[in-house]
Symmetry: C2
Subunit: 489 residues, 2 copies
């Protein structure tokens, strides 16, 4: 029952799909009425239909708002934590070779930081941390430790560029986890931060379970560590349940209290980690924690690919200039294989139907202009869009496009007539692309020969029956060659 997606494979039955290359932009047919180009936040400035069309493609109603002076949606850094948070995923047991392969792939994608498991976790963790520091990657290397001098002393010897320090500040964690009070937490934080800084290494201080911490305690300790020169403070939604407006409020409040950078780490238990990260950037956060496919404790954290999707939608040019987007699928496949999971079918960008259009009404508009139903350009990620046509929801515009690809000249009325037959057949059984192509060819030759006219259902049935019989007799005498796939990866 489970189609396996290895990145090179395709939607479960490629024969039902047609690859559409529209890399040169929309096919505008000039017959559409000149539409008013105002989006909710947009401005109209075009005049002719053609100018409108270009304007529609250029303008991006999802771009950051001018009024958002705090927003870092077009000015952020990614702290990639697959090799730290990701190692806490139930299925993750990375050996040295795998860790190095993942680190290199993340570096090739262009993440700003790579965060590693604490060298205090185990002897092998320490060795791996040192090995990755020696790779000479462009990304800065961080390790993540408890707020404790024992851990800090080990961390600064590994060769990392920075140390991420964390301690639970919520009443929940203070009572049920480490049992320390705020005075002790503050004292230890200062000691650890000053020690790491004295070694010339970047240091971040983060609370844990920040959204259930006392706000005054939280702001107080952040202000203290900011004053002694911490490079970054971190907010963590450790239990994964903050919602976007809570995130916005807390980050914005913190932005008014500290001068240093602000990082945010968001668990995904209720599926809001991508949106929360986006909203944190709007409120002035500077650094977002991600992991590939979101792997981590429980259902994990903000996934790298999902974050890229929403930031690309806001500002494609910035995201394209900063990251090698065509590497995304590769790094996802590498990690998926290492932790033995499938790339989820509904994954943003790389989910196997992310660029597949099915409903007739959608297919028609996509064929006119992909921007109608797509805000991500598949070609920017090295991917291709598909229009699925052999089903009961199909529309005649998609069928017309296919007929044109096959070089069959049919009038719109003839196409509509053929489409009705496809829908009728698909009500009984899904039609493969081969089935659709055969029907179109039979229809076309019937029209050419005069054996068929629009609306002659019985004539069409007779021609189709005849075609099937001929095919069966051919099949029984020779083996059929494999039909060429119309699909690119």
């Amino acid at each position: 029952m489970c189609p396996h997606h290895n990145g090179d494979s395709l939607p479960n039955d490629p024969s039902q799909m047609v690859g559409i290359d529209m890399s040169n932009g929309a096919r505008t047919n000039g017959t559409a009425p000149a539409a008013k180009a105002n989006g909710v936040n947009g401005h109209s400035n075009g005049t002719t239909a053609a100018a409108k069309s270009n304007d529609l493609q250029r303008r991006n109603p999802y771009a950051p708002r001018a009024s958002d002076f705090l927003s870092n949606v077009s000015n952020f850094k990614i702290i990639e934590s697959t090799l730290r948070e990701g190692e806490q995923f139930a299925n993750a047991f990375f050996d040295t070779k795998t860790k190095i392969a993942i680190a290199k792939a993340l570096d090739a994608f262009g993440v700003d930081y790579i965060e590693l498991t604490s060298p205090a976790a185990s002897e092998q963790s320490r060795k791996d941390c040192e090995a990755i520091c020696k790779l000479g990657l462009k990304a800065k290397i961080l390790t993540h430790i408890r707020c404790h001098m024992d851990d800090a002393r080990i961390a600064v010897e590994t060769g990392v560029d920075g140390v991420d320090v964390v301690i639970g500040t919520s009443s929940f964690l203070r009572e049920f986890s480490h049992g320390k009070d705020m005075t002790y937490i503050t004292k230890t934080a200062i000691e650890v931060i000053e020690f790491v800084k004295s070694k010339g290494i970047e240091v971040r201080f983060s609370s844990e379970d920040s959204f259930r911490s006392d706000l005054v305690d939280l702001l107080s300790i952040y202000q203290t560590v900011d004053k002694i020169g911490v490079n970054r403070v971190g907010i963590a939604d450790t239990v994964g349940c903050a919602n976007p407006r809570q995130v916005y409020d807390l980050v914005r409040t913190l932005r008014g209290v500290v001068g240093c950078d602000i990082e945010i780490h968001l668990h995904n238990d209720t599926g809001m980690a991508i949106a929360n990260a986006y909203t944190a950037l709007e409120a002035g956060a500077t650094h977002i924690d991600t992991s590939v496919l979101g792997i981590g404790e429980r259902v994990g954290i903000t996934p790298l690919g999902g974050l890229i999707a929403c930031l690309y939608a806001a500002n494609p040019e910035y995201v394209k200039s900063k990251y090698n987007l065509t590497q995304l699928r590769e790094v996802e496949n590498l990690v998926a294989e290492a932790v033995e999971v499938n790339v989820p079918f509904m994954n943003p960008i790389t989910g196997y139907c992310a660029f597949t259009h099915k409903a007739g009404i959608h297919a028609k508009a996509i064929l006119n202009n992909p921007s109608t139903y797509e805000i991500l350009k598949p070609e920017d990620f090295g991917l291709t869009r598909y229009v699925s046509i052999g089903h009961r929801l199909t529309g005649w515009n998609a069928v017309k496009s296919r007929a044109e690809q096959l070089g069959l000249k049919l009038t719109d009325e003839e196409i509509k007539d053929a489409t009705a037959k496809i829908k009728e057949l698909a009500d009984v059984r899904t039609q493969s692309m081969d089935d659709v192509d055969s029907l179109l060819r039979v229809y076309h030759s019937g029209i050419q020969s005069g054996e068929l006219a629009v609306g002659q259902k019985e004539a069409l049935d007779r021609l189709l029956r005849k075609h099937r019989e001929e095919q069966m007799s051919r099949d029984s005498s020779v083996s059929r060659p494999a039909s060429p796939s119309p699909i690119a990866a």
Copy 2:
């Protein structure tokens, strides 16, 4: 490489996991310091440590804010569209039997509405719509049509409780899809709405691609249809790229313009559909469209399970009283099988590691009080939590819990010593639960017999070697019985 998750199966190697039953609440050991119970939005009112603990469990810092007078987070309806939007998923080809099974399962879960594919799509779609209307479900049955009298005339004859009407209003769709202007759209909308109402059937009017529509056009048509008595207006993020603050702004603005209910339909292309739905409710939306696992065009829409997760986190009692949460996994498995996908590993609630805790620091706190790292109670969904312990990130608290389950009396120092050995072995190879249990038993009997004391690494290695040799000689003479699984589904 791909573990298949069929709902009854378990994390990839159950022998590495331990099921923890904490349905009776937290184990508070009384030694934790009395913590201040204020969350960011909470209030402290407890006095003793025990009272604090109860207070911590009762209070919910994620509950709706008193100031959110518009919020419908605790007063909403779900329009379940697996049988409409879901049918537009590339893999979905539902026959009548499957449609009926899904409709019944959704009704058993308790969704408020079930939306079906337009009866105008195909003859079979019309028949299926009629068949589902005749099932006598508690949920109201809706069908979804284009804003066109031809479709409306067919829809009102099927027996549905309501008709959802949609038309593209964005400049993109007006130019590249249907080519109609706002005057025409308004005129047709009025005609269709008045016709459906005249038949005594509920009617909704929705724009399509609302976030790229002209705001004035949009509000104008919503106001018009509200005045003629439409039951609901719908906003649709058809391209799946709105962000939470845009959703909040548009819904809140609309809330001030119309008196009728407000529905929202959100695509998930950038992974923000759950958060956008939550934020829409905060701004005053009343109805949320979902599909099971989010299936639909491209990567689909707001998933039912994810929406339930975030609304449960906000108000568990309301969500528990309204829906049969233990049915969630069943309906997800039914749909996953019908469309031949896996339940994604990181799915909220039912993802196969959603309640698995791995890091030592997490395991310790979870054992003290599950609320430390969980905002969803697995038992409310008929599920169980696990603590994974045989890996290099393990901690002595998790190991101690396992030793107690095995009835082995060991001091904390002895547990810490045994934990160091587990971490050392796990650095080389993941330790199964059997491996961990054997080690603990060998350690315990060594202590009992006086052959072992804390810190005697060589003595422990010798005892483990001896145990392995004995085991091998046993294995070669008798076949071992299957070890009982400690895991419940």
